[in-house]
């Protein structure tokens, strides 16, 4: 597509990068078809092609973001279904990242919006604060219906409704000894929200890997991957999180060496795999970040390399929900399903598998109405498979889908741990027969 940037504009590396991305778009419109917001709202402004056009117009004219542009950019889930669809290879992810940063730098949001975003940024990436907030949320839950009647307060209502009824205890240390011979040494991202919401996922990962002879380290100083703030356009904060993690893992790489950095939440994985890009302009970090990104792997990607034994079929059917960050962000589509099949589960693909469930980081809080429509659509498709349970690879989807689905939803690795000798997940009590 033709672009209109001046030489001066192109001296900004961010603008130059976006110009390159825009040049690839041929405006064919394929992306509209797989975009969850276009499918839901039916307005091209809420489609990738529309947003690309809005961003192009804003950047070419050096304009600060305005209410209209912000409305449509905010509605983007960053699910990246469009990048899977796009035949021209438009790097929509980095374009929308740039736009979000531009919005954050040039646009003042209404007070309530700022407050809510401020709270999310202050709380979610910090496990202790998040734990405390969830305890309070349980107390405040009865207020949700009242809040949901006021437009500006809908996100608060959504937040309260998403908070789980009960919280698991703080994760315990690894108890399974590593089998010999040791086949590898990996770091596992502890993360921020996941250990609070569902510590069982990493526990299952650690058990499984230990049994498979993989040594696990949790480096000191590692924390939130930065995705949450990154998707809100808070570039500086996101880069700080990234640098902290790069430092922590680099110490570990240089000390004992790492075969991989494993991530059990695909939302985080997409961001960590992008550290190399995010920090490319920081001479002190560019190289280290690229090394970290190259080592980053989703846990199923790594497990697929370990050649797990094929188990006898179980009488259980799993609907596999591929998180957007998994299938579109990281293009991991086959490994989780192959692992589940090898472990003896029957696996079904729900219809419209490319569509987002509406979780999308903080999207279900900030855009509760669109999120709810997508959730309902997703659950309907999943339930149509008549499976016994749902497997997925991202904590965001688990939280989102669990609020309405009437079957258990687990992380893929929890099922694999169980199948390969671990304890039966608590969520399956009463449902499953192995």
């Amino acid at each position: 597509m033709q672009t209109n940037f001046t030489e001066a504009q192109l001296t900004d590396p961010h603008v130059a990068a976006s110009e390159k991305i825009l040049r690839r778009c041929v405006h064919c419109g394929f992306c509209t078809a797989t975009c969850p917001t276009y499918v839901t709202l039916g307005n091209e402004l809420d489609s990738p092609r529309g947003r690309i056009y809005l961003i192009k117009d804003m950047l070419e004219n050096d304009r600060p973001a305005d209410r209209e542009v912000v409305t449509h950019i905010d509605r983007c889930l960053s699910c990246l279904a469009c990048t899977t669809t796009c035949p021209s290879g438009v790097d929509y992810m980095h374009l929308i990242d740039h736009a979000r940063a531009h919005i954050e730098n040039t646009y003042q949001r209404p007070l309530m919006d700022r407050l809510i975003r401020g709270v999310l940024v202050a709380v979610l990436p910090h496990p202790q604060r998040f734990r405390l907030a969830l305890s309070l949320a349980r107390l405040a839950r009865p207020l949700a219906p009242v809040l949901s009647r006021v437009t500006a307060l809908k996100p608060l209502a959504a937040m309260l409704e998403l908070a789980p009824q009960s919280l698991a205890p703080v994760a315990k240390a690894v108890t399974v000894p590593v089998e010999k011979p040791v086949r590898g040494r990996v770091a596992i991202l502890a993360g921020c929200a996941q250990p609070v919401l569902d510590p069982g996922i990493n526990a299952a990962t650690e058990r499984l890997l230990s049994r498979l002879g993989v040594e696990i380290v949790v480096p000191k100083g590692e924390g939130c991957c930065g995705a949450l703030v990154h998707h809100m356009g808070r570039e500086a904060a996101a880069l700080d999180f990234a640098r902290a993690n790069v430092d922590a893992w680099t110490r570990e790489i240089e000390a004992g060496g790492l075969d991989a950095i494993l991530i059990t939440a695909s939302g985080c994985g997409t961001t960590i795999k992008d550290y190399g890009h995010m920090l490319r302009l920081d001479p002190a970090y560019a190289e280290k970040a690229a090394r970290v990104s190259a080592l980053a792997k989703d846990v199923t990607e790594y497990l697929a390399l370990l050649d797990l034994p094929r188990l006898a079929p179980q009488n259980l059917t799993v609907a596999y929900h591929s998180a957007c960050s998994m299938q579109h962000g990281q293009k991991i589509t086959l490994q989780p399903k192959l692992l589940l099949k090898a472990a003896g589960f029957a696996v079904k693909d729900p219809a419209e598998g490319h569509l987002c469930c509406g979780s999308a980081g903080t999207y279900n809080i900030l855009q509760p109405e669109i999120s709810a429509e997508l959730k309902a659509r997703k659950v309907k498709n999943i339930e149509a498979t008549r499976a016994d349970l749902i497997a997925t690879g991202n904590i965001g989807c688990i939280t989102q889908i669990a609020t309405v689905a009437n079957m258990p939803i687990l992380h893929t690795v929890e099922l694999l741990d169980w199948a390969y000798g671990g304890p039966k997940p608590a969520k399956l009590s009463g449902v499953a027969k192995a």
Binding site: R24, T32, A33, G89
Partner: protein, 484 residues
């Protein structure tokens, strides 16, 4: 932005009343159905023919036929031009608006209304995508046959507007052969029903006339289409040839032998490379030209048909024959082919031609196309429906270089004239739009065009529907000024 193709001057009286018109439209429609802020109009300024762009006056996104009717009635009363828009995937500028026009977008009319497997019909709203129909009826063992490459995104309303074809219409025909009925809103807001679940509506074949009329005769809001039982199996086979001429000759012989495969698609070397880069379908990269021939039916049937085709291909010196081994592989082969245009965006901007020629002229036109494009100092990739002679040369250029853009357009015009001179036509399935409008006189005499325009006037006396499209601006019954 190019400027070789002119648009009609915006109607001054409409432009002067812009704010009143927007207020009136706001009264007719829910707020989310009207777009009028300057910023928000920008994404509607073009379709997939990006070289030309005009901002619309407003965009409406109605949710019901009644709303479409109300808007049309209003626009007709006040002489406001109207541009219908489906998914905006037109490659000829069929949905490009202009400053005095209201865009009527059909993206919100996206419900499948009825699937009737007994009568093998589906009734859908006009904004339903082509592929969504097949997806919806697939569990019942049926599909909707026309399959334009943009089938993932393009709407059935747009398909009717352009009488869309696709790879598989060699066997199953194009939109007009698969359309049974429509609900259509005439320019004055009258809602009419044409056809239905029965075949061959009584009276004049207005259904046939509106199919391919490019939004000039009314706006279709619902369509009843024919469903076809899915074949037992389908198998695309790749035939690699040293040269395009050999591949072209093979196509002619296959068709001439009385075998009609479901599809015969052609790709030349540049196109093979582009598509392989995106789809990784396993196209052979060491050949000069590739045919994708798809046969369908039972295993026995496919084997029998393939044996005949392979024999013909061997006579033409086929270098590689590769039968696809799995459904996944078949899907990749078609994904690569159907993404060809978009995938071209990875290496350059492009304009896509759509001329159709008699099969006997295929090799000649291919050769001349290469020479023409080379003569303009540009490159070309060819990927097209060879079985029915529908060619799609993609002329590659740099859109940020105005001189290259102008040369690309000029080369395109030469190629289309070549197609007409070879006994073919300007457009097989993309439509005239604005892109080929000024070439219409090359294919039609004054009397031919005058007759078509008179028929158009019978539907829309004020020529409000999809202005600046299809018919050359000079010589229209309407007497508006136009400017480059």
């Amino acid at each position: 932005m190019s400027d070789a193709i002119a648009f009609l001057e915006p109607r001054a009286n409409v432009m002067a009343r812009r704010s009143i018109i927007i207020e009136d439209l706001a009264d007719m429609l829910p707020p989310e159905c009207l777009v009028h802020e300057a910023r928000e109009l920008v994404p509607f300024e073009t379709d997939a023919f990006v070289a030309y762009r005009r901002l619309p006056l407003a965009v409406v996104l109605p949710k019901t036929t009644a709303q479409v009717s109300a808007v049309l009635k209003y626009c007709n009363r006040y002489g406001i031009p109207v541009v219908p828009r489906g998914a905006g995937t037109s490659l000829c500028g069929g949905a490009i608006p202009q400053e005095d026009a209201v865009v009527i977008g059909l993206s919100r009319l996206s419900r499948i209304l009825e699937i009737d497997t007994f009568n093998r019909t589906a009734k859908v709203q006009a904004g339903v995508t082509n592929l969504a129909i097949s997806d919806a009826v697939s569990p019942e063992g049926f599909f909707y046959a026309p399959d334009p490459s943009s089938q993932l995104a393009c709407t059935i309303g747009g398909n009717i507007g352009m009488n869309s074809g696709g790879a598989h219409c060699l066997k199953y025909g194009v939109t007009t052969n698969n359309l049974l009925g429509v609900t259509m809103v005439l320019v004055d807001g009258t809602i009419v029903e044409l056809g239905g679940k029965h075949l061959d509506a009584g009276g004049y074949d207005l259904l046939g006339l509106i199919c391919g009329s490019e939004g000039q005769l009314g706006i279709v809001t619902e369509a009843t289409v024919r469903l076809i039982a899915k074949p037992e199996g389908a198998r695309p086979v790749l035939f690699g040839f040293e040269t395009s001429e050999e591949a072209g000759a093979c196509v002619t012989d296959v068709i001439g032998s009385g075998i009609i495969p479901v599809a015969i698609e052609f790709m030349d070397k540049p196109a093979i490379e582009i598509c392989e880069a995106f789809a990784k379908a396993g196209y052979p990269l060491d050949v000069g030209a590739l045919l994708i021939v798809e046969v369908e039916g039972s295993e026995a049937e496919m084997d029998a048909m393939l044996a005949l085709i392979v024999e013909i291909a061997r006579r033409h010196g086929v270098k590689t024959v590769r039968e696809c081994q799995s459904a996944t592989e078949a899907a990749l082969i078609w994904k690569g082919r159907k993404s060809a245009f978009g995938a071209t965006g990875r290496i350059a901007d492009y304009i896509c031609m759509d001329g159709t020629v008699p099969l006997s002229q295929l090799s000649h036109v291919l050769k001349r196309t290469g020479e023409i494009v080379e003569g303009f100092g540009l490159r070309v990739a060819n990927v097209f429906h060879a079985g029915d002679g529908n060619m799609h040369p993609l002329i590659l250029f740099n859109a940020n270089d105005p001189d290259e853009a102008a040369r690309a357009e000029a080369a395109g015009n030469e190629i289309l004239k070549l197609c007409v001179d070879a006994g073919g036509c300007l457009t097989g399935e993309h439509g005239v739009g604005i892109e080929k409008r000024d070439l219409m006189r090359h294919q039609f005499s004054k009397a031919d065009l005058d007759q078509q325009m008179a028929v158009r006037s019978a539907f829309d006396a004020q020529w409000l529907m999809n202005p600046s499209k299809v018919f050359p601006l000079d010589g229209r019954p309407e007497t508006r000024a136009f400017s480059a």
